[in-house]
């Protein structure tokens, strides 16, 4: 049958790629099977075969500043849930804070004031080149733990910042201890400040890039129509810049959510911190890691979905 004109199979342009893929896929499968078999054998030997029933055992450790009611007798899953809620709380607050600060700094790069422009630049270059973890421990150990307490606490209208925490509303000084309805711990304060300051530098760059993408003719046209600089920014430039800014914000928001896992460095009990304690108590490494990875994946997806919604809204509005 075979004639000399037919390409031999080893030079077949269609077959070879599939063959290579098949071999590579098989190799990967073999490696995965090897790892999983080791995992199963080692876990069986250690008496830690995968199960989720331990999640119902009492946790026995405390999770500070929870929004949900929690005490040490509640099961592990409640502890992990409390940690997750704490993570969500700091992420949400961080997103808002970082967006506001980042936008201000990003827009400051276009100020007519030379000093303000340069300071915005200095801020970004300073913050981006120092590791976040270092900044977090700085905020916690150097700034927040060194705050004055009692009479000397920093008092602003409606806010008191003391060694024992940040009080909102109308706190009162009772026996040299501040009391108020709404108290945020210094751990939360340090983490939030660190995340906001750090992420704002990146958001500022995103905003700057977005505003710079609007052709200068748009500014000039708007100004010559008699709009003030603020109106120009608000009505003409930002709606166009947002088209570029929103996708960039998405990845910065996801970074912020992931970076919130460094909370353990400033003593805030977020999801990762609870998970670490859980692992130390139960030895359930695989389940704990799966829960961790799954939770952060869901948070990332939620942010992405939200930002995709915002993105389509921005795009439609533009037309």
């Amino acid at each position: 049958m075979a004639t000399p004109a037919v390409t031999p199979w080893w030079r077949n342009r269609r077959l070879i790629p599939w063959l290579v893929q098949g071999v590579a896929g098989l190799l990967v499968l073999v490696v995965v099977a090897f790892l999983v078999s080791n995992l199963v054998r080692n876990l069986t030997n250690a008496g830690l075969l995968l199960s989720l029933s331990w999640l119902r055992n009492p946790a026995g450790f405390d999770v500070s500043e929870t929004l949900l009611p929690y005490n040490a007798e509640l099961p592990y899953w409640r502890a992990l849930l409390a940690g997750l809620v704490n993570t969500l709380r700091v992420v949400l607050a961080g997103l808002i804070g970082a967006t506001v600060l980042g936008t201000l700094i990003g827009v400051a790069a276009f100020s007519s004031n030379g000093l303000l422009r340069r300071l915005a630049r200095v801020y970004v270059e300073l913050i981006r080149n120092i590791p976040l973890l270092l900044q977090l421990v700085f905020w916690y150990f150097v700034v927040f733990l060194d705050l004055p307490g009692g009479e000397q606490a920093i008092q602003l209208p409606g806010v008191v910042l003391a060694k024992s925490g940040l009080y909102l509303g109308k706190p009162e000084l009772i026996n040299d201890v501040w009391q108020g309805q709404m108290r945020l711990t210094v751990e939360f304060g340090a983490l939030l400040t660190g995340l906001v300051v750090y992420t704002a530098a990146f958001i500022a760059e995103v905003v700057r890039g977005g505003v710079a993408s609007v052709p200068p003719g748009q500014w000039e046209a708007s100004r010559s129509l008699g709009l003030t600089p603020l109106q120009t920014l608000q009505r003409i430039v930002l709606p166009q810049a947002l088209r570029v800014i929103v996708p960039g914000l998405n990845s910065q928001y996801i970074s912020l959510a992931k970076n919130s896992s460094l909370a353990v460095a400033c003593g805030y009990t977020d999801l990762y911190s609870v998970a670490e304690t859980t692992l130390n108590q139960t030895g359930r490494a695989v389940e704990v890691v799966l829960i961790l990875l799954g939770s952060y994946l869901v948070i990332d997806l939620l942010i992405s979905a939200l930002m995709n919604g915002v993105n389509s809204w921005v795009q439609i509005k533009e037309r």
């Binding site: 893929q21 080791n38 000093l115 300073l126 120092i130 270092l134 700085f138 460094l262 704990v288 890691v289």
Partner: protein
């Protein structure tokens, strides 16, 4: 020459163009003055720098055995010589452009004032002066006589670096007749630089392969790469380090799992590879598809087309983002302190746990911040310099 009135006009335009600008300027100047004087007062009168001065060795190398530290000195000498050689040959013609003069001045200032400020012992001060002098002398000699060397020899010079890396690994970890120093005893800046350089070197080829895989037409390859990249990018680094420390032991047969330090290094590598892959992909996307098609229709096999045509052009675009990832990686090494390794930040924490230095957080963190800032800023500057060098429009006349 600018006349004073001209610069005054410029100052006025920049800072006091409108009343609002004037108010902003005054407020900012007041703020900067207040912060600056408070900081200076703290630095000069309140801060106690003994915590740094007494622990320089711990910050530099952690608990590396004292009697074996000559190996690290030797490595530093070799590094200085190799840096001087490459620097001199890159410039050539024995010239000292302004940037080089500035760099040399900074190096000399660092050697003199750095060792004075840290109150190093005299023998150690002398060593640093010697190493700095060696670097500058080699740089001068290499620049002076680079023309005299035969071209094939010059082409071999970049090979100095991989060889030096291997020599360095042997010097640090021992073996080949040297006493073994287990990774658990490495620490401080040594561990930070080791982990960062290891991960940077390995994550780059891995990232390029992943980026090519993601752009491949073979579905298995493409989806495999996508899955890997998105999985890694979806997880915080600390959870992956946690995974490496706690699960790797279960995944491998007993005794095969590497030491904790190496586990962390591999996790950093695999983590950074996913981000580098995305950076490289941005370069690949920017390249017109005609480039690959033209190369293929000239008869180049796929791998040659990629290596000689596609990647060099794509990397030019991807370079800033890739170096950005390297900078992030260097910063991410601080997370090792959270899993109990004694990197720069981890060593700092052990110092501050010492009752003698309790509460000296500000001094220590400030020094670490300055150190990291300088390293990262230098990497960023280097990347920008390389970018202009690689830009064909800027170098066409050279």
């Amino acid at each position: 020459m600018n006349s004073p009135s001209l610069s005054f006009a410029r100052l006025r335009r920049e800072l006091f163009a409108t009343p609002l600008d004037g108010v902003i300027t005054l407020a900012l100047v007041g703020f900067l003055l207040a912060v600056g004087t408070a900081f200076l007062r703290w630095m000069l009168f309140q801060a106690e720098w003994a915590v740094i001065q007494a622990n320089t060795t711990l910050f530099a190398v952690g608990r590396y055995p004292i009697e074996e530290q000559w190996r690290l000195w030797l490595l530093t000498v070799l590094l200085a010589a190799a840096t001087g050689l490459s620097w001199g040959l890159l410039r050539g013609k024995g010239s000292w452009p302004r940037n080089d003069q500035l760099t040399a001045a900074i190096l000399i200032a660092l050697a003199v004032f750095g060792s004075w400020g840290l109150k190093l012992e005299l023998p150690i001060q002398l060593r640093w002066w010697g190493i700095t002098a060696l670097l500058l002398v080699v740089r001068w000699a290499a620049g002076r006589w680079s023309q005299a060397l035969p071209a094939p020899l010059l082409r071999l010079v970049p090979l100095v670096w991989p060889v030096l890396y291997l020599v360095g690994m042997v010097l640090i970890s021992g073996g080949l007749g040297l006493m073994r120093v287990p990774p658990g005893e490495w620490g401080g800046l040594l561990l930070t630089l080791l982990e960062a350089s290891f991960a940077i070197l390995l994550c780059f080829p891995l990232g390029v392969l992943l980026a090519l895989g993601r752009r491949s037409e073979l579905p298995l390859l493409r989806w495999g790469s996508v899955l890997y990249i998105e999985f890694i990018r979806g997880a915080p680094l600390i959870t992956l380090l946690f995974l490496g420390q706690n699960i790797l032991g279960f995944l491998l047969p007993g005794g095969l799992a590497p030491d904790r330090v190496w586990r962390a290094a591999w996790v950093l590598t695999f983590f950074a590879a996913a981000y580098v892959a995305e950076a490289v992909r941005s370069g690949l996307v920017a390249l017109p598809p005609g480039q690959l098609e033209a190369a293929r229709s000239l008869g180049l096999p796929m791998h040659q087309a990629l290596i000689h045509v596609v990647l060099p052009q794509a990397m030019r675009v991807a370079l800033p983002a890739t170096v950005g990832q390297f900078i992030t990686l260097l910063q991410d090494t601080t997370l090792l302190s959270l899993i109990g390794l004694l990197d720069l930040l981890g060593s700092a924490r052990t110092v501050m746990a010492n009752p003698e230095f309790l509460g000296k957080n500000a001094e220590v963190y400030l020094v670490l911040a300055v150190l990291f800032w300088c390293c990262c800023a230098a990497l960023g500057l280097g990347s920008r310099a390389l970018e202009t060098r690689l830009n064909p429009l800027a170098t066409s006349k050279a």
